[in-house]
C-alpha cells in the first residue's frame, strides 16, 4: 500500500473499525486484521501491523481489554474484547461520523442548491 492511501484514513477511523468489529465478537489481532480486510472487500488496504499501535491506544483508554487465550488454530493469542466504555465510545464515534458523512455527502451531492 502507498503512503498516500494511509493518509486518507482519518485519525480514529481504524480505532472505530476495531471497536465495531469487536462489538460483534471478541477476536485476537490476526483474526481482527483478516476480518477488517475481508469485510472492507480489500477496499481499505491497511497495513496489518498498524492494528497494534491502535489496539495499544484502545487498551490504554480502557475501551478494550485483552486476555490471553487459545485461538481456533490452537495458538496462544491475546483476545481483545469490547468494554462497556468501549461500546459507549463506539456509539458516540459512529453517530458523529455519520453526521460528518452526511454533511460531506450533502456538499458533494449535485444540484441541490
Amino acid at each position: 500500500m502507498t503512503k498516500a492511501a494511509q493518509r486518507d484514513l482519518f485519525p480514529g477511523a481504524l480505532e472505530m473499525m476495531i471497536l465495531r468489529t469487536l462489538k460483534r465478537q471478541p477476536l485476537h489481532g490476526y483474526a481482527l486484521a483478516q476480518h477488517i480486510k475481508r469485510t472492507s472487500d480489500d477496499l481499505l488496504q491497511i497495513e496489518e501491523g498498524s492494528l497494534y499501535p491502535a489496539l495499544q491506544r484502545l487498551l490504554k483508554q480502557d475501551l478494550v481489554k485483552a486476555e490471553w487465550g487459545t485461538s481456533s488454530t490452537n495458538r496462544r493469542v491475546r483476545i481483545y474484547k469490547l468494554t462497556p466504555a468501549g461500546a459507549k465510545h463506539l456509539q458516540h464515534e459512529v453517530s458523529s461520523f455519520e453526521r460528518m458523512l452526511e454533511g460531506i455527502t450533502r456538499v458533494l451531492a449535485p444540484g441541490e442548491s
Binding site: A33, E47, E48, S50, Y52, Q56
Partner: protein
C-alpha cells in the same frame, strides 16, 4: 496510580507485545503455506503485509510510555556507548572542547567580575565621578585626571547643586604611625564631609566621620580600614575610642570600614577628615577627587549642566586673595565631564579585556571547527550504520536527534571538564593580571559565569553537531546500504564542508597570530624606549615622609634628608644615593605649576602653560642614570643658601629656547609675581607616566626653597623617594642595612614603598605584558588547533584517495608529481585562508589600536611574517600525509580491482 503500575509492568507488557506480533506473523505464514505458497515466499509476504515490524512495535510501545524521555534516554545510552567505543576520538575532541571552554570561562569570569558586575557600593549606578577638563589652560590637557576639584569648588558644589543627593571630595596620601615598636608609613585617605555619605557603605564598627569631625583645629579623629584594623588591632571590637599616633599626633578612632571597601580604586589603611578651614579657602588648589551621588531621576547631562551653572557662582563666591582676578578662570574654559564612577574605576581596561575575550572566542570557534571536522569524518565512516538504522525503521528525525545528543554530550562533558580547568585558569589570571588591573581581587567564578559556560557548551555542541548531522542524517541525505564504490575517489562535493572549515580555521588563526605579533612588536618598541633611568634592577627606592610634628623647622628637614643620603651612600656596595619628590612611573599624583620665562611675552590676564614640577637632590641624576643634557646639577650649598636656581627638562628647553644649551642662564618663575630663577641645568627627558606616554616637560626645583607665598621661613619638601644604586639592591641584608642607616639618623622615620625601580618599570609595563601573554596563549592555541585541523583533513583526504593515487602511480605518474598534487591541494586551502585572514585582520586589529605602541595596527612586517609562518606550517602539515600517499604500493592499492 495506574501510571505507576504501567511503569512497573512495562517490561512484561513489551514482551507480550512482541510475542503477540510474532504470533500474528506465524499465523499468517501458516495460512499462506496452507494456500500453497512456499515457506520462504510466505515469510516475505507476511512481512510485506504487516509493515515495518520494528517501527510498529516501537509505536505500540510508545503508546504506553513517555516516548520523548525514553527516546532521549536511549539516545543517551547509545551516544555514550559510541563515545566509549572510540576512545581516541572522544579524548581528542573532549580535550579540544574543554580547553576551549576553560579558556573562555576563565576570561569571561574576569570580564564579568571586572566589567559587568556593579561596583561594591549600594545603588552604585547613581555614583558619578566629578570629572572636569580645562581646555583653555595650556598644559592642563596632559592632566591624567582632568582638572581636579579645589576645596572652594567642593563647598560650592555641595551647597549650591540641584542634581546631587550628596557630594564629597577625597585625596590619597600617606601618614606615619608611631608609638609602636617600628614606625610605619600607612596609606591614608583624607575625606571631606559628605564623601562617606555618598558611598553610603555602613561602617563595620563604630560610626562614620561626620560633619562634627570636619571642624578645623577641632578634635582629631580617624577611621580604619578593615585590613588595618585586623593587622594592627587584631579585629578588637573595643577599638572605637582608642587613640593612634598619626604623624606624631594622637587621633581618636571612631569607626572601621567593612572588608573590601575602597575609595574608588584606592586601598587605604586610615581615613582622616580633610577639615577644610572655610575662612582660608581660596579658588585655587585643584587637588581633590570629587564623587557625587545623583538624585534619583537625574541624568549625567543634567548634572553637567548643573555644574556649568555653578562655576560662575564659584568664581563670584571665592577669590585667590586681595587684588587677584577671580574671573581669570574663565579663560581656562572649565568644562564638567561627569562620568559614571564605574568608568572612572575601570579606565581603559575594558578595551583590553574585550580584545582578550574576542581572541579567546576566536580560539573557541577554531576548536569547534576542529571537532566538527572530526565528527564529519566519523559520521562519514558511520554512514553504513546510519543506513542500517534507517532501514530498520528509525525516522531521520530520530537519527538526527541521536547524533545531536552525542555532540551535546561531548559539549557538556567538555563544559564540565572546562569549569574545572577554568578554576585553575582564573587563579592563573589573577596571579598574572597586572596589579593595576582594577577589581582584580573581585574575580571569581559565579553563577553568571557558570551560566555562560553552560550556554557556551550547548552552543558549541550545536555548532559542531549540526553540520555533520544535517549533512548525513537529514531527510535529504542519500544514506544507502549500498557499499561505497571502492574504485572512485570521493567527490569534490563531499569535501566542501571540511575544506571550508580548514579555510576558516586558517583565517581565524591568522587574525590571532597577527594580534599577538602586533603585541610582540609593541613590547619590543616599549623595551627600546629610554625611560630616563638606567639599569633599574640595581636601583633601590624607598619613600620617607618627615611630618612637621617630628621635625618642625624646614631647613632641618632638608638636613635630615641630606644626612640620610650620606648614610645610605656609606653602606657597603652602594655607588651613590639621592632623593627626588617622585621617581618616574611611581604613580603618585603629579604637581603642576604655571611657568613663565623671562624672555617671553605673556598677554595680560593670561596664564602660562602648566608644567609638571619635581624637587630633586644633588646626586640623584647620577644615581638614577639620568643624563644631563646641558649645564650642571644644583649643589647643596646653593640649596642651603636658598639660591634662586632651577633645572628643566630637555623637552621644555627645546620648546622655549630651541636647544638644551640655549636654556642655560635663562630665567623662569612660577606665577606672575614670583622672583626669577636661573636655569643652571637641563635634564634628559624621562617617561614620567610610563614608557608609552610621551615624556612631559618638567621643572626641577631645589628641595628647600624660599617661601614664595608670603613672609615666613623657607619651605622644604617633606615626602620624597630616596634612590640608592647598588648591585645589592633588593636583597634582604641590604634592606636591613638601609633601615639601620635611616634609623641612625632618626628612629621615628618609617620606610614605605621599598622596591627596586625594576618593579616599578615592570608594573608600568603590566598592561602590555598581560595583553601580550593573553594574546600569545590564544594565538598558540589557535596555531596548534589550526595545524591539527589541516593535518587531519589532509591525511583523511589522502587516505580516501589512496586507490586513485595507486592507479596514477601504476599508470606511470611520477611520485614527485603526485606529491606536488597533494601539497598543492593543501596549500591552496591555506592560501585562501590566509587571504581571508589578512582581510579580517586589517579590519579587526584597528580595534586594538590603543593597546599598541610604536607599531601600526597594519604593520606590514607582522602581517608578512605571520602569513608566511602560517603557509609554511600548513605546507608542513600537508607534507606528512603527502609523503605517505606516494609511498603507496600500486600493487597493494590495485589488488582488489
Amino acid at each position: 496510580m495506574s501510571w505507576l503500575r504501567q511503569l512497573l509492568s512495562r517490561r512484561r507488557l513489551y514482551s507480550e507485545l512482541s510475542e503477540e506480533i510474532q504470533a500474528h506473523l506465524d499465523e499468517k505464514v501458516e495460512e499462506l503455506v496452507a494456500d500453497g505458497m512456499s515457506r520462504e515466499d510466505a515469510i516475505y509476504a507476511a512481512r510485506r503485509e504487516f509493515g515495518n515490524v520494528g517501527l510498529l512495535e516501537e509505536k505500540s510501545r510508545n503508546v504506553w510510555g513517555w516516548p520523548l524521555v525514553e527516546d532521549f534516554l536511549s539516545d543517551l545510552r547509545y551516544g555514550l556507548r559510541t563515545l566509549l567505543h572510540n576512545p581516541v576520538f572522544t579524548v581528542v575532541s573532549l580535550l579540544t572542547i574543554s580547553i576551549g571552554i576553560a579558556a573562555n570561562t576563565a576570561v569571561f569570569s574576569v570580564v564579568n567580575s571586572v566589567l559587568l558586575k556593579p561596583l561594591h557600593y549600594p545603588r552604585a549606578d547613581e555614583l558619578v565621578a566629578l570629572h572636569q577638563t580645562a581646555p583653555g589652560a595650556e598644559g592642563l590637557a596632559d592632566f591624567e585626571n582632568g582638572l581636579l576639584l579645589s576645596p572652594s569648588m567642593y563647598f560650592t558644589y555641595a551647597e549650591q547643586n540641584r542634581t546631587f543627593q550628596s557630594v564629597g571630595v577625597w585625596v590619597a596620601g600617606t601618614a606615619n604611625v608611631t608609638g609602636v615598636a617600628e614606625p610605619e608609613q600607612v596609606r591614608a585617605v583624607s575625606v571631606s564631609d559628605g564623601l562617606l555619605q555618598t558611598f553610603d557603605v555602613p561602617p563595620a564598627v563604630g560610626r562614620w566621620l561626620l560633619a562634627a569631625d570636619q571642624v578645623p583645629h577641632g578634635p582629631e579623629r580617624v577611621m580604619l580600614s578593615y585590613g588595618y584594623w585586623q593587622r594592627r588591632f587584631g579585629g578588637s571590637p573595643n577599638v572605637v575610642g582608642q587613640t593612634i599616633m598619626l604623624d606624631s599626633r594622637p587621633r581618636e578612632i571612631v569607626g572601621v570600614m567593612p572588608k573590601g571597601f575602597q575609595f574608588v580604586d584606592a586601598d587605604f589603611d586610615v581615613a582622616m577628615p580633610l577639615a577644610f578651614d572655610r575662612g582660608k579657602v581660596i579658588l585655587a588648589g585643584f587637588g581633590f577627587h570629587g564623587i557625587a551621588r545623583l538624585k534619583p531621576g537625574s541624568t549625567i547631562a543634567e548634572a553637567n549642566a548643573d555644574i556649568s551653572r555653578m562655576l560662575p557662582i564659584w568664581m563670584d563666591s571665592w577669590s585667590n586673595g586681595p587684588g587677584s582676578n577671580s574671573h581669570i578662570y574663565e579663560t581656562w574654559k572649565i568644562t564638567p565631564m561627569i562620568r559614571p564612577l564605574k568608568q572612572e574605576v575601570l579606565g581603559n581596561v575594558g578595551e583590553l579585556l574585550w580584545v582578550v575575550m574576542g581572541t579567546i572566542g576566536l580560539v573557541m570557534l577554531i576548536a569547534c571547527a576542529n571537532v566538527t571536522n572530526l565528527l564529519l569524518v566519523r559520521v562519514e565512516a558511520r554512514q553504513q550504520e546510519l543506513a542500517v538504522r534507517a532501514a530498520l525503521g528509525a525516522g531521520w528525525a530520530r537519527i538526527l536527534r541521536g547524533l545531536l545528543v552525542e555532540s551535546a554530550m561531548l559539549g557538556l562533558m567538555g563544559g564540565l571538564v572546562g569549569i574545572g580547568l577554568a578554576y585553575a585558569g582564573v587563579r592563573f589570571l589573577v596571579a598574572m593580571g597586572p596589579s593595576n588591573l582594577p577589581r582584580l581581587t573581585e574575580i571569581s567564578l559565579d553563577a553568571r559565569t557558570l551560566a555562560f559556560t553552560f550556554v557556551l557548551s550547548v552552543l558549541s555542541s550545536l555548532m559542531f553537531g549540526l553540520i555533520p548531522a544535517l549533512k548525513y542524517a537529514g531527510p535529504w541525505s542519500k544514506s544507502t546500504l549500498r557499499s561505497e564504490g571502492r574504485t572512485m575517489s570521493v567527490s569534490r562535493e563531499r569535501h566542501r564542508a571540511r575544506n571550508l572549515l580548514v579555510v576558516g580555521q586558517v583565517a581565524m588563526a591568522l587574525v590571532l597570530l597577527v594580534s599577538a605579533g602586533l603585541m610582540i612588536r609593541t613590547f619590543e618598541a616599549l623595551r627600546t624606549v629610554d625611560p630616563g633611568f638606567a639599569d633599574p634592577q640595581h636601583l633601590q627606592i624607598l619613600r620617607i615622609s618627615i611630618p612637621d610634628s617630628l621635625v618642625t623647622e624646614p631647613e632641618r628637614v632638608t638636613h635630615v634628608q641630606n644626612e640620610i643620603i650620606d648614610k645610605l651612600a656609606a653602606i657597603q656596595g652602594v655607588k651613590s644615593a639621592g632623593f627626588v619628590s617622585e621617581m618616574p612611573m611611581e604613580g603618585f599624583d603629579s604637581m603642576w605649576d604655571e611657568i613663565f620665562a623671562q624672555d617671553k611675552v605673556y598677554a595680560d590676564n593670561t596664564t602660562a602653560p602648566m608644567r609638571l614640577y619635581k624637587y630633586m637632590s644633588p646626586g640623584l641624576l647620577q644615581t638614577a642614570g639620568t643624563k644631563l643634557a646641558a649645564g650642571r646639577e644644583i649643589t647643596w650649598s646653593e640649596i642651603y643658601g636658598l639660591r634662586p636656581v632651577v633645572m628643566i627638562s630637555e623637552s621644555l628647553a627645546r620648546e622655549m629656547w630651541g636647544t638644551p644649551s640655549a636654556a642655560i642662564g635663562k630665567h623662569v618663575r612660577e606665577f606672575q609675581t614670583m622672583p626669577w630663577n636661573e636655569v643652571v641645568g637641563v635634564v634628559q627627558d624621562v617617561r614620567e607616566k610610563g614608557v608609552q606616554e610621551a615624556a612631559p616637560a618638567i621643572v626641577y626645583w631645589p628641595p628647600f626653597k624660599e617661601n614664595l607665598f608670603g613672609p615666613g621661613p623657607a619651605l622644604a619638601i617633606r615626602t620624597v623617594t630616596f634612590v640608592v644604586r647598588s648591585e645589592r639592591a633588593g636583597t634582604e641584608s641590604f634592606l636591613n642595612e638601609i633601615h639601620q642607616a635611616v634609623w641612625s639618623v632618626n628612629s621615628n622615620l618609617p620606610l614605605a614603598s621599598v622596591r627596586t625601580m625594576r618593579d616599578v618599570y615592570d608594573k608600568s609595563m603590566g598592561q602590555a605584558s598581560f595583553t601580550l601573554v593573553m594574546l600569545g596563549i590564544a594565538a598558540s592555541m589557535a596555531l596548534t588547533l589550526g595545524i591539527i585541523g589541516i593535518y587531519g583533513v589532509m591525511s583523511y583526504t589522502v587516505s580516501q584517495r589512496q586507490r586513485e593515487i595507486g592507479v596514477r602511480l601504476a599508470l606511470g605518474a611520477q611520485r614527485g608529481h603526485v606529491l606536488q598534487m597533494v601539497l598543492q591541494q593543501g596549500t591552496k586551502l591555506a592560501l585562501v585562508g590566509v587571504a581571508i585572514g589578512v582581510g579580517a585582520s586589517l579590519a579587526l586589529t584597528r580595534l586594538m589600536t590603543h593597546l599598541l605602541f610604536g607599531v601600526s595596527s597594519h604593520d606590514p612586517l607582522t602581517f608578512a611574517a605571520v602569513s608566511s609562518l602560517l603557509i609554511l606550517v600548513a605546507a608542513l602539515a600537508c607534507y606528512i600525509p603527502a609523503r605517505r600517499a606516494i609511498r603507496v604500493d600500486p600493487v597493494v592499492a590495485l589488488r582488489y580491482e
